[in-house]
């Protein structure tokens, strides 16, 4: 194919497009004009605290709920105007993984395949593929109610995969699993993400770091951050934090650090067994400011017992964006939504 032909071909629509979604339950506003899009071939974490509106947005995307205002499209199909086409593009694992306990795994998979069938693919091939991908062979003929929670989660993933959809929506996929099962399911999602677009909703931060390349963070129905994980963490936790511990007065230490260029100094509980030691955390603009900080502490005659630069973390960003207490406690000024790609 010529380059000209390739250039003239229209770009494929985003797999997910959400524009100004609003949804209220009575007086409670669950979504307040949220917008975002997801391009093909990425694992995106839809992050927010409990009650942020993640599941409501997902339920609108999958057609289970209608939005009061706004529009949602899946692979270019409007979920309201063209619901069957939109739903056929989605493999969905709802929160808490509701399944039919009285059905056998094999029967559920066959039903799910027939229910979501989009082409001429054979049921046997599709089911074999999903069973082998999710490791369900040993419980294939068991009743779902008799399977362990980990296997039930795998059944939920398998039914979502059967029709080979371009988009997988997984709502809290590791909720309630034990640590080993969490590791297994995360590995499975990573594997799936190599071939598909995956939208994972979660409030578990290590899950986001383990799975996603991009984060859309919402809070109280509004988008507060949207971008690549590393970039968000860097911008959202602007500056570099360093843990400093000395034997001596905390007041003196704070004063020395501020004079040496720390933009912010906050207390923290002392991790030291020595009662004479105190601990604080200081924020500096970048790593270049660290030697001056250490030298000033030394020059002030304070015996240093700790000097540990900290990386920015998703947890710090999350706290800053969704915890009002963190924003007012002086941990750091709240970054603007525009800085983080969130135009709520």
């Amino acid at each position: 194919m010529s380059n000209r032909a390739a250039l003239s071909r229209p770009a494929p629509p985003p797999v997910v497009e959400v524009e100004g979604l609003e949804k209220s339950y009575g007086e409670v506003r669950a979504l307040d004009g949220i917008s975002f899009s997801v391009d093909a071939g990425s694992v995106v974490a839809f992050l927010g605290p409990n009650g942020a509106g993640k599941t409501t947005a997902i339920k609108i995307l999958t057609g289970y709920l209608g939005a009061d205002r706004g529009r949602a499209r899946v692979c270019g199909h409007d979920v309201d105007r063209d619901p069957l086409a939109a739903r056929s593009q989605v493999g969905y694992l709802p929160e808490n993984n509701p399944l039919y306990p009285d059905m056998r795994v094999c029967d559920l998979l066959r039903f799910a395949f027939e229910a979501q069938r989009t082409g001429e693919a054979s049921a046997a091939d599709a089911i074999d593929r999903a069973v082998s991908r999710t490791g369900l062979a040993e419980v294939y003929r068991k009743f779902i109610g008799a399977c362990s929670k980990g296997f039930r989660q795998r059944v939920g993933l398998a039914q979502a995969l059967l029709h080979d959809p371009p988009l997988l929506i997984l709502d809290e996929p590791t909720n309630g699993l034990d640590p080993l099962q969490v590791v297994e399911i995360r590995q499975l999602i990573r594997d799936l993400g190599a071939h598909k677009t995956v939208l994972v909703t979660t409030h578990v931060l290590p899950e986001v770091e383990a799975l996603a390349e991009r984060v859309v963070m919402i809070h109280r129905g509004r988008k507060v951050a949207d971008g690549a994980l590393a970039q968000l963490v860097q911008v959202g936790t602007e500056g570099l934090w360093v843990h400093v511990g000395v034997r001596g007065s905390e007041t003196a230490l704070r004063s020395v650090l501020q004079q040496a260029g720390a933009t912010e100094v906050t207390g923290r509980s002392s991790p030291f067994a020595d009662a004479a030691a105190c601990a604080v955390q200081a924020r500096v603009r970048d790593a270049d400011a660290l030697p001056a900080l250490a030298a000033a502490v030394h020059a002030a005659g304070l015996e240093m017992v700790e000097f540990a630069p900290q990386g920015g973390s998703l947890e710090m960003l999350f706290q800053r964006l969704v915890t009002p207490a963190a924003a007012v406690s002086g941990v750091a000024p709240e970054p603007s939504p525009e800085d983080l790609g969130g135009r709520a």
């Binding site: 339950y25 069957l84 969905y92 509701p98 039919y100 009285d102 059905m103 056998r104 799910a112 229910a115």
Partner: protein, 240 residues
């Protein structure tokens, strides 16, 4: 239609993977045979007639059909599988009709199992099969209307027991409309409407072998009305 039947087949499979189908399949033939041969006066009458057998049907449908329909939507809501089902590319009408047909199929199978009763009667004496066929058709129509009512009630709650109690209460009322129509306080026009709406009275005329278009339209109309209500409940929940 293929996708509607897919839902109906799933309902069958779930019913047969649990005790529900077996209970219904056992209850109807056992109860009808017991009432007809043991508790009724079949042997005293000395006549090969099934009239008394079919006369039992409206009363038997009152507890049995809600037992068949109580889980149709209530269980989907309770377990959260309704969300999964509605996220699959089905139209609401396919889901509603599929569940209805699944339950109707089970009832038809259960009715087929009662065929031992007329076969026994035919073995004991000369049986006129015309009214028997009419009686079965009438029972199926009555059952279809009761299933549509039960399915709608099941969509209103996530508690199967509540769905069953509501079903029994509503069907009982629908069978007492004729009696209410004769009350002195009821105006004549309303009495005529109540009389014409009584599930049991409509049934009795069909069960005698008189297949009237009005009776058929009545039952089909009830089925369509309550299935539409069922669909509206599901649609409305999307916007709640």
């Amino acid at each position: 239609m293929k996708r509607t039947l897919l839902i109906a087949r799933r309902e069958w499979r779930v019913a047969f993977d649990s005790p529900v189908a077996y209970l219904v399949l056992a209850a109807l033939p056992t109860l009808t045979a017991a009432f007809f041969f043991l508790m009724g006066d079949f042997f005293a009458r000395g006549e090969a007639s099934m009239r008394e057998f079919f006369a039992l049907m409206p009363q038997l449908m009152i507890p049995i059909v809600p037992a068949l329909t109580m889980r149709l939507w209530a269980e989907e809501q309770r377990s959260g599988t309704e969300e999964l089902l509605l996220s699959y590319p089905f139209r609401v009408r396919q889901l509603v009709l599929g569940k209805f047909l699944g339950a109707l199929g089970l009832l038809a199978l259960s009715l087929a199992a009662t065929a031992l009763v007329p076969l026994t009667v035919a073995w004991l004496g000369p049986l006129d099969w015309g009214p028997v066929i009419g009686g079965y058709l009438a029972t199926l129509m009555l059952g279809a209307a009761c299933i549509a009512v039960g399915a709608w009630l099941s969509s209103l709650t996530h508690n199967q027991i509540v769905a069953w109690i509501l079903g029994v209460a509503l069907l009982l009322c629908a069978n007492l409309l004729g009696a209410a129509a004769t009350a002195r306080a009821v105006p004549e026009a309303l009495g005529r409407i109540l009389l014409g709406s009584d599930l049991g009275l409509r049934f009795q005329s069909m069960a005698r072998g008189v297949i009237d278009f009005g009776d058929l339209a009545y039952y089909l109309g009830l089925v369509a009305f309550f299935l539409c209500l069922n669909g509206l409940v599901l649609e409305r929940r999307r916007w709640s």
